[in-house]
Symmetry: C2
Subunit: 118 residues, 2 copies
Protein backbone atom coordinates (compact mmCIF):
# COMPACT_ATOMS: atom_id res chain seq x y z
CA UNK A 1 0.00 0.00 0.00
CA UNK A 2 1.13 3.54 -0.75
CA UNK A 3 2.39 5.28 2.41
CA UNK A 4 1.22 8.65 1.10
CA UNK A 5 -1.66 9.92 3.18
CA UNK A 6 -3.72 13.00 3.87
CA UNK A 7 -4.49 13.84 7.50
CA UNK A 8 -7.02 16.60 8.14
CA UNK A 9 -7.65 17.86 11.67
CA UNK A 10 -10.66 20.13 12.18
CA UNK A 11 -11.92 22.08 15.18
CA UNK A 12 -15.67 22.79 14.98
CA UNK A 13 -17.28 25.42 17.21
CA UNK A 14 -20.87 26.52 17.73
CA UNK A 15 -22.19 23.06 16.93
CA UNK A 16 -25.69 21.82 17.68
CA UNK A 17 -25.36 20.77 21.34
CA UNK A 18 -28.01 18.04 21.11
CA UNK A 19 -26.17 16.36 18.26
CA UNK A 20 -22.89 16.50 20.20
CA UNK A 21 -24.50 14.48 23.02
CA UNK A 22 -26.23 11.92 20.79
CA UNK A 23 -23.93 8.90 20.44
CA UNK A 24 -26.21 7.10 17.98
CA UNK A 25 -26.51 10.16 15.76
CA UNK A 26 -22.74 10.69 15.76
CA UNK A 27 -22.07 7.04 14.99
CA UNK A 28 -24.44 7.17 12.03
CA UNK A 29 -23.08 10.45 10.67
CA UNK A 30 -19.42 9.52 11.03
CA UNK A 31 -20.01 6.18 9.37
CA UNK A 32 -21.73 7.98 6.51
CA UNK A 33 -18.91 10.55 6.30
CA UNK A 34 -16.34 7.75 6.03
CA UNK A 35 -18.33 6.19 3.19
CA UNK A 36 -18.60 9.58 1.52
CA UNK A 37 -14.80 9.90 1.51
CA UNK A 38 -14.69 6.56 -0.36
CA UNK A 39 -12.81 4.87 2.48
CA UNK A 40 -13.42 1.25 3.54
CA UNK A 41 -14.74 0.77 7.08
CA UNK A 42 -13.11 -1.95 9.24
CA UNK A 43 -14.68 -1.12 12.58
CA UNK A 44 -16.70 1.48 14.48
CA UNK A 45 -16.16 2.27 18.17
CA UNK A 46 -18.09 5.03 19.97
CA UNK A 47 -17.98 5.75 23.69
CA UNK A 48 -20.32 7.99 25.72
CA UNK A 49 -18.98 9.88 28.73
CA UNK A 50 -20.81 10.86 31.88
CA UNK A 51 -22.28 13.42 32.31
CA UNK A 52 -21.87 14.20 28.59
CA UNK A 53 -19.55 14.01 25.59
CA UNK A 54 -18.77 11.32 23.07
CA UNK A 55 -15.55 9.93 21.64
CA UNK A 56 -15.67 7.82 18.54
CA UNK A 57 -13.39 6.26 15.99
CA UNK A 58 -14.17 4.73 12.63
CA UNK A 59 -11.27 2.42 11.74
CA UNK A 60 -10.64 2.52 8.01
CA UNK A 61 -8.65 0.25 5.72
CA UNK A 62 -6.95 3.56 4.87
CA UNK A 63 -6.49 4.66 8.53
CA UNK A 64 -9.12 6.39 10.72
CA UNK A 65 -11.78 9.03 11.30
CA UNK A 66 -12.25 10.24 14.87
CA UNK A 67 -14.40 12.65 16.87
CA UNK A 68 -14.36 13.98 20.41
CA UNK A 69 -17.25 16.19 21.50
CA UNK A 70 -17.52 18.76 24.29
CA UNK A 71 -21.23 19.63 24.32
CA UNK A 72 -20.80 22.16 27.13
CA UNK A 73 -18.56 24.19 24.78
CA UNK A 74 -20.42 23.45 21.51
CA UNK A 75 -17.09 22.03 20.37
CA UNK A 76 -16.14 18.96 18.36
CA UNK A 77 -12.62 17.99 17.39
CA UNK A 78 -12.36 15.77 14.34
CA UNK A 79 -9.60 14.18 12.39
CA UNK A 80 -9.55 12.00 9.33
CA UNK A 81 -6.47 10.30 8.02
CA UNK A 82 -6.58 8.31 4.80
CA UNK A 83 -3.68 6.61 3.07
CA UNK A 84 -3.49 6.22 -0.67
CA UNK A 85 -4.83 8.48 -3.37
CA UNK A 86 -8.28 7.01 -3.99
CA UNK A 87 -10.07 8.74 -1.09
CA UNK A 88 -11.45 12.24 -0.60
CA UNK A 89 -11.18 12.96 3.15
CA UNK A 90 -12.19 16.58 2.60
CA UNK A 91 -15.69 15.39 1.65
CA UNK A 92 -16.05 13.72 5.06
CA UNK A 93 -15.04 16.91 6.86
CA UNK A 94 -17.42 19.03 4.77
CA UNK A 95 -20.28 16.66 5.49
CA UNK A 96 -19.60 16.74 9.23
CA UNK A 97 -19.34 20.55 9.40
CA UNK A 98 -22.84 20.71 7.87
CA UNK A 99 -24.23 17.81 9.86
CA UNK A 100 -23.12 19.20 13.24
CA UNK A 101 -24.22 22.70 12.20
CA UNK A 102 -20.85 24.23 13.11
CA UNK A 103 -20.89 28.03 13.08
CA UNK A 104 -17.13 28.21 12.84
CA UNK A 105 -14.49 25.73 11.84
CA UNK A 106 -10.75 25.62 11.48
CA UNK A 107 -9.07 22.87 9.50
CA UNK A 108 -5.46 21.95 9.05
CA UNK A 109 -4.22 19.48 6.45
CA UNK A 110 -1.04 17.43 6.87
CA UNK A 111 0.61 15.25 4.26
CA UNK A 112 1.82 12.00 5.82
CA UNK A 113 4.04 9.17 4.72
CA UNK A 114 6.54 11.00 2.52
CA UNK A 115 9.83 9.10 2.59
CA UNK A 116 12.59 11.03 4.41
CA UNK A 117 15.45 12.39 2.30
CA UNK A 118 18.16 10.74 4.35
CA UNK B 1 -13.61 19.31 30.42
CA UNK B 2 -11.03 21.70 29.08
CA UNK B 3 -11.12 21.84 25.26
CA UNK B 4 -7.38 22.54 25.14
CA UNK B 5 -5.56 19.61 23.63
CA UNK B 6 -2.23 18.56 22.23
CA UNK B 7 -2.21 16.50 19.04
CA UNK B 8 1.10 14.99 17.96
CA UNK B 9 1.40 13.22 14.61
CA UNK B 10 4.57 11.22 13.99
CA UNK B 11 5.92 9.39 10.96
CA UNK B 12 8.36 6.63 11.88
CA UNK B 13 10.67 5.08 9.26
CA UNK B 14 13.14 2.23 9.37
CA UNK B 15 11.16 0.41 12.04
CA UNK B 16 11.62 -3.23 13.01
CA UNK B 17 9.52 -4.98 10.35
CA UNK B 18 8.61 -7.93 12.58
CA UNK B 19 7.17 -5.61 15.21
CA UNK B 20 5.12 -3.78 12.57
CA UNK B 21 3.41 -7.04 11.61
CA UNK B 22 2.78 -8.25 15.17
CA UNK B 23 -0.73 -7.15 16.19
CA UNK B 24 -0.39 -8.46 19.76
CA UNK B 25 2.94 -6.71 20.28
CA UNK B 26 1.57 -3.43 18.92
CA UNK B 27 -1.57 -3.65 21.07
CA UNK B 28 0.56 -4.20 24.19
CA UNK B 29 3.01 -1.40 23.39
CA UNK B 30 0.36 1.15 22.45
CA UNK B 31 -1.63 0.38 25.57
CA UNK B 32 1.53 0.86 27.61
CA UNK B 33 2.36 4.10 25.77
CA UNK B 34 -1.11 5.47 26.55
CA UNK B 35 -0.61 4.65 30.23
CA UNK B 36 2.81 6.27 30.13
CA UNK B 37 1.24 9.53 28.87
CA UNK B 38 -1.03 9.43 31.96
CA UNK B 39 -4.16 9.12 29.83
CA UNK B 40 -7.15 6.98 30.81
CA UNK B 41 -7.95 4.09 28.45
CA UNK B 42 -11.62 3.56 27.45
CA UNK B 43 -11.16 0.97 24.73
CA UNK B 44 -8.60 -0.75 22.51
CA UNK B 45 -9.27 -1.77 18.90
CA UNK B 46 -6.59 -3.34 16.68
CA UNK B 47 -7.13 -4.74 13.20
CA UNK B 48 -4.75 -6.91 11.15
CA UNK B 49 -4.71 -6.61 7.38
CA UNK B 50 -3.94 -9.29 4.83
CA UNK B 51 -1.22 -9.88 3.69
CA UNK B 52 0.29 -7.56 6.32
CA UNK B 53 -0.11 -4.31 8.24
CA UNK B 54 -1.97 -3.36 11.37
CA UNK B 55 -4.26 -0.46 12.26
CA UNK B 56 -5.04 0.21 15.88
CA UNK B 57 -6.69 2.79 18.07
CA UNK B 58 -6.59 3.22 21.82
CA UNK B 59 -9.63 5.30 22.78
CA UNK B 60 -8.76 7.59 25.68
CA UNK B 61 -10.93 9.58 28.05
CA UNK B 62 -8.76 12.42 26.74
CA UNK B 63 -9.13 11.44 23.02
CA UNK B 64 -7.08 8.81 21.16
CA UNK B 65 -3.79 7.18 20.22
CA UNK B 66 -3.61 5.51 16.81
CA UNK B 67 -1.18 3.57 14.64
CA UNK B 68 -1.13 2.38 11.06
CA UNK B 69 1.77 0.19 9.97
CA UNK B 70 3.23 -0.52 6.53
CA UNK B 71 5.73 -3.33 7.18
CA UNK B 72 6.79 -3.48 3.53
CA UNK B 73 8.08 0.10 3.90
CA UNK B 74 9.30 -0.13 7.52
CA UNK B 75 6.86 2.70 8.16
CA UNK B 76 4.44 3.44 10.99
CA UNK B 77 2.23 6.50 11.22
CA UNK B 78 1.17 7.42 14.72
CA UNK B 79 -0.92 10.12 16.28
CA UNK B 80 -1.83 10.87 19.84
CA UNK B 81 -4.34 13.50 20.82
CA UNK B 82 -4.99 14.27 24.48
CA UNK B 83 -7.29 16.94 25.86
CA UNK B 84 -6.61 18.70 29.10
CA UNK B 85 -3.30 19.59 30.71
CA UNK B 86 -2.68 16.56 32.91
CA UNK B 87 -1.23 14.28 30.22
CA UNK B 88 2.17 14.02 28.57
CA UNK B 89 1.55 12.72 25.04
CA UNK B 90 5.19 13.29 24.10
CA UNK B 91 6.16 10.47 26.47
CA UNK B 92 3.97 8.06 24.51
CA UNK B 93 5.59 9.06 21.22
CA UNK B 94 9.09 8.75 22.69
CA UNK B 95 8.30 5.29 24.01
CA UNK B 96 6.95 4.12 20.65
CA UNK B 97 9.92 5.48 18.68
CA UNK B 98 12.19 3.35 20.88
CA UNK B 99 9.87 0.36 20.98
CA UNK B 100 9.50 0.14 17.19
CA UNK B 101 13.23 0.83 16.74
CA UNK B 102 12.60 3.67 14.29
CA UNK B 103 15.77 4.84 12.55
CA UNK B 104 14.17 8.14 11.58
CA UNK B 105 11.13 9.99 12.80
CA UNK B 106 9.37 13.21 12.04
CA UNK B 107 6.85 14.63 14.50
CA UNK B 108 4.49 17.56 14.25
CA UNK B 109 2.62 19.01 17.22
CA UNK B 110 -0.72 20.79 16.87
CA UNK B 111 -2.55 22.67 19.60
CA UNK B 112 -6.28 21.91 19.45
CA UNK B 113 -9.38 23.37 21.02
CA UNK B 114 -8.42 27.04 21.31
CA UNK B 115 -11.60 29.10 21.17
CA UNK B 116 -11.86 31.14 17.95
CA UNK B 117 -11.48 34.93 18.20
CA UNK B 118 -14.80 35.69 16.48
Amino acid sequence: MDTFGCHIVADLWGCNVHKLTDKDYLEKEFTYAAEKSKATICGVFFHEFSPQGVSGVVILAESHLSVHTFPEHGYASIDIYTCGRHTQPGLAIQHLICSLEAEYNHSHELIRGLKPKV
